[in-house]
């Protein structure tokens, strides 16, 4: 669990973050969104003290982050950034082993951990271990960057626009993978993004920042249906709201008994996926994997809520 209390920071007298307080529960994903210059990245960087707060404090599992030297604190917190920041002169395995080596793990333990992480991210260890970062695709580089952040099994992972440099197709896959890995490992995740769709897809909670202040910190559904200010409403984009709402609900929630023809849709697919499938294939109802159906009428009803 991470507790941010009255955190502020100014640069040359100009406030970048003002009096922000929020709590991220264990195993949850908090997405920090806002326009550029809203202070979201500064807020993130204050958690691992890449930026020292001017006022306020950060408690990680109840412990004040200033109780230990900054570099030791950072070795306990995963950190992944836009453009991956891989070390170009080090192999994939050496990159992933960065924090374990700083922590003094023995070689055998590091090797096991590197292979385990590569496997977790769908990269065959024997094939990828000794490659250099320049020999990877953009999506692979990004995955190695996240694997490196997770190498020493941190309870907390910070990510700054981790998917910003990826094209839309790879980005959707990377988001899904991240979500799945985060659930599996039980890592608490704080993620900075300027993309509201990404925040809605990934976040258990969304913190909307504007001009250094926290405007609203709530679940995606609340952010969409009850925006605290006109700024939050604008950020969600009125034209997209219905789709964003649908993307929050899994198909399983609207399942009801019945029969329908065609390929079944997965239970954890969202209503947005189901709507798209209905429209593309011209069907009024889709069978759901494991029994039952979801109908276009029901989806329409959910979007109008």
């Amino acid at each position: 669990m991470i507790r941010i209390e009255n955190l502020s920071r100014s640069f040359d007298g100009k406030p970048a973050v003002q009096d922000v307080s929020l709590t991220v529960e264990r195993n949850q994903i908090a997405a920090l969104v806002g326009t550029s210059g809203s202070g979201k990245t500064t807020l993130l960087r204050m958690i691992n003290r890449l930026v020292e707060p001017s006022a306020g404090r950060v408690l990680i599992d109840g412990q004040d982050s200033r109780d230990m030297p900054a570099h030791l604190l950072r070795r306990r917190i995963g950190y992944a950034i836009q453009g991956h920041g891989l070390f170009p002169h080090r192999s994939v395995a050496q990159n992933i082993a960065t924090v374990p080596r700083l922590l003094g793990w023995d070689k055998a333990r590091i090797r096991v951990r590197v292979d385990e992480l590569l496997g977790l991210f769908g990269m065959e260890p024997a094939d990828f271990r000794d490659r250099m970062p320049s020999q990877l695709s953009g999506g692979q580089q990004q995955r190695v960057g996240v694997a490196r952040a997770l190498a020493a099994k941190p309870d907390l992972l910070l990510m700054d626009e981790p998917f910003g440099a990826l094209d839309p197709v790879i980005r959707a896959k990377a988001q899904a993978d991240l979500r799945q890995i985060q659930r599996r490992l039980g890592t608490t995740l704080v993620l900075v993004t300027h993309d509201m769709d990404e925040a809605i897809t990934l976040g258990d909670r969304i913190a909307v920042m504007d001009a250094g202040r926290l405007v609203q910190y709530d679940t995606p559904a609340q952010i969409l249906t009850a925006p605290a200010t006109p700024f939050v409403r604008d950020l969600t984009g009125s034209g997209q709201r219905a789709f964003q709402l649908l993307s929050l609900t899994p198909v399983a929630d609207l399942r009801r008994p019945g029969e329908a023809s065609g390929t079944p849709i997965a239970t954890d697919a969202t209503l947005r996926d189901a709507l798209s499938e209905c429209l593309t294939s011209g069907r009024e109802a889709l069978p759901v994997a494991g029994g039952g159906i979801v109908t276009l009428d029901a989806i329409r009803g959910a979007a109008a809520e």
């Binding site: 950072r74 920041g85 891989l86 070390f87 960065t98 700083l102």
Partner: protein
């Protein structure tokens, strides 16, 4: 079928052909008087053999395509040219005459130029791997050392000057190395930290680089003009300074001058190398919990290494050449011979200082190029 004419080969043939026509050596009754030029076929018995070999090598450069054959022909031509020079000296010098001088003349230098260019060109076409190039460099050094120690060129004027002052030559050679490498070491000791400092504090960049730039533009003679009175006064005022080696003339001001000229390339390249490192890599390094020294030694320096080595190459070659001016203020080095020779209008003595300097700079430059290339491979 007429073979296609190789274009660089035409250049080598023209230069080499001119060399064959011009005098190979100059015969002088003593080291000061003007001499008489002798072209290759007439300069020594069996001179026509050497002429044919050299002409054949140049012709091979025109028509042969295989790089190995071109290389072989060029090396053979070089051998023939050097042998002809040695042979001419032996044949022309009357027995027991210690005053007569046989000096290499324009024809010799042009043939060496043409055949060296042809060698370099053949090596470029071969694209040898890194390890082989180290071997070739070693082989070339061994070949030159072998020719010089074989006594085959002992009759040549430069070698006679050398024979007359062997001890002095070794002493000046070592002070030349001390000047070149010592000033490089000092420049690295001072310049690397300065480069790191101005990389971290952008505000200092302008002033520091401007100051070093101004320093670079001061002519060496003017720099000595400034330093001689200042260091002279310091040495005269504080005996401790004088005891530590500070003096107005000699090796101390020479070392200081070379050090000052080396600072700009070292500092500027350190800054360039560090600035070229992807900021995301340093940001990630800090975010993952490296301390500042760890970021420096594990990320910044390895990634900036090729540029840092390039700086060392520039400074080393520059200082080997510049160290000659130390001879002007009693600092020692090969410059001693150059300036003595100029004063006595004895070109042979000038060459005794100039040729080793050029060879040293050439070897250092090639060796550093190979090192830089190896470091690129390591960083890639």
């Amino acid at each position: 079928m007429i073979p296609r004419i190789d274009r660089p080969g035409i250049l080598f043939a023209v230069i080499g052909g001119a060399g064959l026509a011009l005098p190979l050596v100059q015969f002088k009754a003593n080291r000061i008087v003007a001499g008489e030029g002798l072209a290759l076929p007439a300069a020594l018995p069996l001179g026509w053999v050497a002429t044919v070999v050299i002409a054949a090598a140049l012709a091979a450069g025109l028509i042969l395509r295989a790089p190995w054959l071109r290389l072989g022909a060029a090396v053979l031509g070089l051998g023939a040219t050097v042998s002809a020079l040695g042979g001419a000296a032996t044949a022309l010098t009357p027995p027991d005459d210690t005053l007569a001088r046989v000096a290499p003349a324009s024809g010799f230098w042009l043939m060496m130029l043409a055949l060296s260019l042809m060698t370099a060109d053949a090596l470029t076409r071969l694209r040898p791997p890194l390890a082989l190039r180290w071997l070739l460099l070693g082989a070339a050094i061994a070949a030159v050392a072998g020719v010089l120690s074989s006594g085959m060129l002992d009759g040549i004027s430069v070698m006679r000057e050398y024979a007359a002052r062997q001890d002095m030559f070794l002493r000046e050679a070592s002070s030349h190395l001390v000047l070149a490498f010592g000033s490089l070491a000092l420049a690295l000791l001072a310049g690397l930290p300065v480069g790191v400092a101005i990389h971290q504090r952008a505000a200092w960049r302008g002033p520091v680089l401007s100051a070093l730039n101004v320093m670079q533009t001061i002519p060496s003679l003017a720099l000595f003009g400034i330093m001689i009175p200042i260091f002279g006064w310091i040495a005269a005022t504080w005996p401790a300074a004088a005891a530590a080696g500070v003096s107005g003339i000699g090796i101390f001001p020479a070392l200081v001058a070379l050090f000052l000229y080396s600072l700009l390339p070292v500092v500027a390249n350190t800054l360039t190398g560090l600035s070229a490192v992807d900021p995301a890599a340093t940001e990630a390094a800090r975010g993952l919990g490296m301390t500042r020294p760890q970021v420096m030694t594990r990320v910044l320096v390895p990634l900036a290494l090729p540029v840092l080595l390039a700086a060392i190459r520039i400074v080393l070659v520059q200082n080997i050449g510049l160290a000659v001016i130390a001879g002007l203020i009693g600092g020692g080095g090969f410059g001693t011979f150059v300036f003595q020779g100029l004063n006595q209008t004895a070109m042979d003595l000038v060459l005794l200082g100039a040729l080793p300097t050029i060879s040293l700079a050439l070897v250092a430059g090639i060796a550093m190029d190979l090192t830089v290339e190896a470091s690129h491979k390591g960083a890639a």
